[in-house]
């Protein structure tokens, strides 16, 4: 099921250490049984893409990985922390988990740099000048060095999403979660955001991406999960999933989207 040494992105090697361990995860909203039992392990430096039809529970699954949604049953272990343990300090855990949203969710009342500096300064990791320096480095990394003092409202969608990525990198997370990071973008801006994600992959960031970009999933993923009806229906390398799909439901899904 897991391929420990897939070489998909320029010499990056997936580690042996398990970063995310999900066992029998279920989630209901009232009577709506959204996740019906998910078990999976994600390793250090692994890039996992989650695909599947709308309403299959992809976002819910991703949000359970930083407890934006509480699991109804099962366990979710991230790094050394058990997220389903009520004793765990979730705010501490979340510092190690970066999350990027479809709608960017930049803070409109702050400048770009202030968006990025907020968490390190508020949580006492960096002083203001240090955080400012870090913000500038991160902006440089996503190609927006000149936008530090701009307001989010003045940026294009692609620029906003790159700032959001820089913001979630500010706490030096061990893992990054992306929920359809390019779905709200005009087509011509998708590329610049994917390039940033590609760079992160090359640097060895562990990532889980919910995406509708099948070509990008094939290119960047070490492993692809196909979800349907709140379950992982099939999991494998991009070539296994896209070239040799086993389950009829995956075959049907691919025939529609490819």
């Amino acid at each position: 099921m897991s391929t420990a040494t897939t070489d998909n992105s320029g010499g990056r090697v997936v580690g042996e250490r398990v970063m995310v361990d999900v066992q029998g995860l279920e989630k209901s909203f009232g009577d709506n049984h959204v996740l019906t039992g998910i078990t999976d392990q994600i390793r250090e430096r692994e890039v996992v893409c989650v695909i599947g039809p709308s309403g299959s529970g992809k976002s819910t699954f991703l949000r359970c990985l930083n407890r934006l949604e509480e699991a109804t049953s099962g366990t979710v272990q991230v790094g050394d922390y058990d997220l389903t343990d009520p004793q765990v300090d979730i705010n501490k855990v979340r510092r190690h988990i970066g999350m990027v949203f479809q709608q960017f969710n930049l803070f409109p009342h702050m400048t770009v740099a202030e968006n990025i500096m907020l968490a390190p300064v508020e949580l006492g990791n960096l002083t203001k000048p240090e955080a400012r320096k870090r913000a500038e480095e991160l902006l440089d990394r996503v190609g927006l060095a000149d936008k530090a003092d701009a307001r989010p409202a003045s940026l294009s969608g692609g620029q906003k999403q790159r700032v959001a990525i820089a913001r979630s990198l500010a706490m030096s997370p061990k893992i990054m979660l992306f929920d359809e990071a390019t779905s709200a973008l005009d087509p011509e801006m998708v590329g610049e955001v994917l390039q940033v994600i590609r760079d992160l992959a090359a640097e060895g960031m562990t990532m889980v991406l919910v995406t509708h970009e099948m070509g990008f999933a094939r290119e960047v993923a070490d492993r692809v999960l196909f979800m349907d009806g709140g379950k992982i229906v099939e999991s494998g390398t991009p070539s296994e999933i896209f070239d040799h799909p086993q389950q009829p439901r995956l075959q049907e899904f691919l025939s529609k989207v490819l």
Partner: protein, 497 residues
């Protein structure tokens, strides 16, 4: 958010700061002792003499005998008593209580004497000892300026509409002469209403106490007194039977001296005669000059009570607003109850309740400022709580999710991410609420709180220039609200770039 709170604090301070400036004109007036019903002011002779101090009760507004001008208690009774005190070497401590309350206070010896434009009657002589008459009351006929050629005396009333005051001597006089001359009589309950009926043309003439009408004429009420005056009893100063004989003695002696020296006539002339020094009070400019100190005094109290209430309502409103969206059902229940009670009931009910209803429950009198502030604060807080709740809930939930995903806790997320955006959204509604509270503060006149409209009422109760005084009051409200709105918008722009 901190910046915004600071801005509101500044606004509050500014409001508070405005008030003393406006009240500086009247020292002993309702500004410092807005409870006119308990107003106490000491004055008297510098000559000192024995230095004996007497507490004298009087009416609140019965111009020209006693009324407030620029916040000061003035009038024939007041001036006369103080002149006598100076002449006889004693001090007067005034209690401006209202006519009936003053007599009650005299009954229970809480005051030493009462001077309140009171007629000497046989009934009253059974319980009080009266001084020599210091004024002979008369009843007069009055008509609109310009009508005096048509109605110049009582006989001209044939076939006319005449208004009188219910239960007064004027009504008796009218009834006596009605059949003989042949006019229609309508009894109304207040002098102001009589004057307005004549001015509006609903009645052709009125019959009422001469001094009251003459003072109004002097102040530009637009009427003129005509015809022969009818005697209606003497006014006297009263002490309790057998009590304070020496005070009565001093009053009588002093009165004689004033009459001899001509000072008595001067005092009467000041209130009843045509004024010849300074501005003519019957002109519009004169009205402004004489009424503005009182009105500004009232405006000061309006701003002060609004300012204090708004600051407190912000604090309470924020608290209840947050409680309403809290996870804890008990907190939510408390907030929902508070908000629905104060949004679901008229302000006036609470003004009466806190001022008149609460004291029997808690066994202590409630200061009128406390009652006024509570009324405006609780009502304002209920609306502000809804404004806060609405604004917080209208912030995109994705904002809080992004913040929490960064590892910021609930408190920090609220403080740094949600509230700044919520405040920005709620500022226009808060400014609006401030303006509403300022306007609502005028309702406090119903409990006798000396705010702007109350002062206006007091003024036209004495000079009967209802329309002009109300227009001046409206203009003052308008200026204050416009200035406040501009200021708030300016602060808003500075803080919420």
């Amino acid at each position: 958010m901190r910046a915004l709170l600071a801005a509101f604090a500044t606004l509050g301070v500014l409001l508070l700061g405005l008030a003393p400036a406006a009240t500086a004109s009247g020292t002993d007036g309702p500004a410092t002792t807005p409870v006119t019903a308990a107003g106490t002011e000491a004055s008297g002779s510098e000559a000192g003499g024995t230095g004996e101090t007497y507490v004298i009760g009087t009416d609140t507004t019965f111009a020209p005998f006693e009324f407030r001008q620029g916040g000061d208690l003035v009038g024939i009774d007041i001036d006369l008593m103080e002149a006598i005190a100076e002449d006889q070497g004693f001090e007067v401590e005034w209690r401006s209580l209202g006519f009936n309350a003053a007599l009650q206070a005299l009954d229970s010896n809480q005051v030493d004497g009462v001077i309140a434009g009171m007629s000497i009657t046989e009934e009253r002589q059974e319980v009080y000892d009266f001084s020599e008459p210091y004024f002979t009351g008369t009843v007069t006929l009055a008509v609109n300026e310009g009508d005096e050629s048509e109605i110049s005396d009582w006989e001209d009333l044939a076939g006319k509409q005449v208004v009188v005051k219910t239960g007064s001597i004027s009504e008796e006089v009218a009834n006596e002469r009605q059949d003989e001359i042949g006019f229609e009589v309508t009894a109304l309950d207040q002098t102001t209403t009589l004057v307005e009926s004549v001015k509006s043309g609903n009645a052709d003439a009125l019959i009422d106490d001469y001094p009251v009408i003459a003072y109004g004429v002097q102040q530009g009420s637009g009427l003129v007194t005509v015809g022969e005056q009818v005697e209606a009893g003497d006014y006297g100063f009263a002490v309790n039977q057998g009590q304070n004989p020496e005070l009565l003695e001093k009053f009588n002696t002093g009165l004689q001296e004033l009459r001899a020296s001509g000072e008595y006539d001067e005092i009467l002339n000041e209130y009843l005669g045509a004024e010849d020094d300074g501005v003519d009070p019957s002109s519009f400019w004169g009205l402004i000059v004489t009424s503005l100190p009182s009105l500004l005094n009232g405006l000061g109290n309006t701003l002060l009570v609004t300012g204090i209430s708004f600051v407190l309502a912000m604090v309470l409103g924020l608290a209840f607003g947050f409680m309403k969206i809290a996870r804890n059902p008990v907190l939510r229940g408390i907030a929902v109850t508070f908000i629905s009670i104060f949004r679901g009931t008229p302000i006036l009910v609470w003004a009466f309740f806190f001022y008149f209803g609460l004291p029997p429950l808690i066994g202590v009198p409630v200061n009128i400022w406390v009652a006024g502030v509570m009324t405006l604060t609780f009502n304002g807080a209920a609306y502000i709580a809804e404004i806060v709740r609405g604004a917080v809930q209208s912030v995109d939930p994705g904002q809080a999710e992004a913040s929490r995903s960064l590892g910021l806790g609930h408190g920090k997320t609220m403080q740094r991410v949600v509230l700044p955006q919520a405040f920005k959204m709620m500022t226009p509604s808060l400014i609006n609420q401030l303006v509403i509270m300022l306007k609502d503060s005028s309702l406090l006149l119903a409990i006798g709180f000396a705010e702007l409209l109350y002062q206006a009422q007091q003024i036209y109760a004495a000079n009967f220039r209802v329309t002009e005084v109300l227009l001046i009051a409206a203009l003052l409200y308008f200026i204050a609200i416009t200035a406040l709105t501009q200021l708030a918008n300016y602060v808003d722009r500075k803080v919420n770039r």
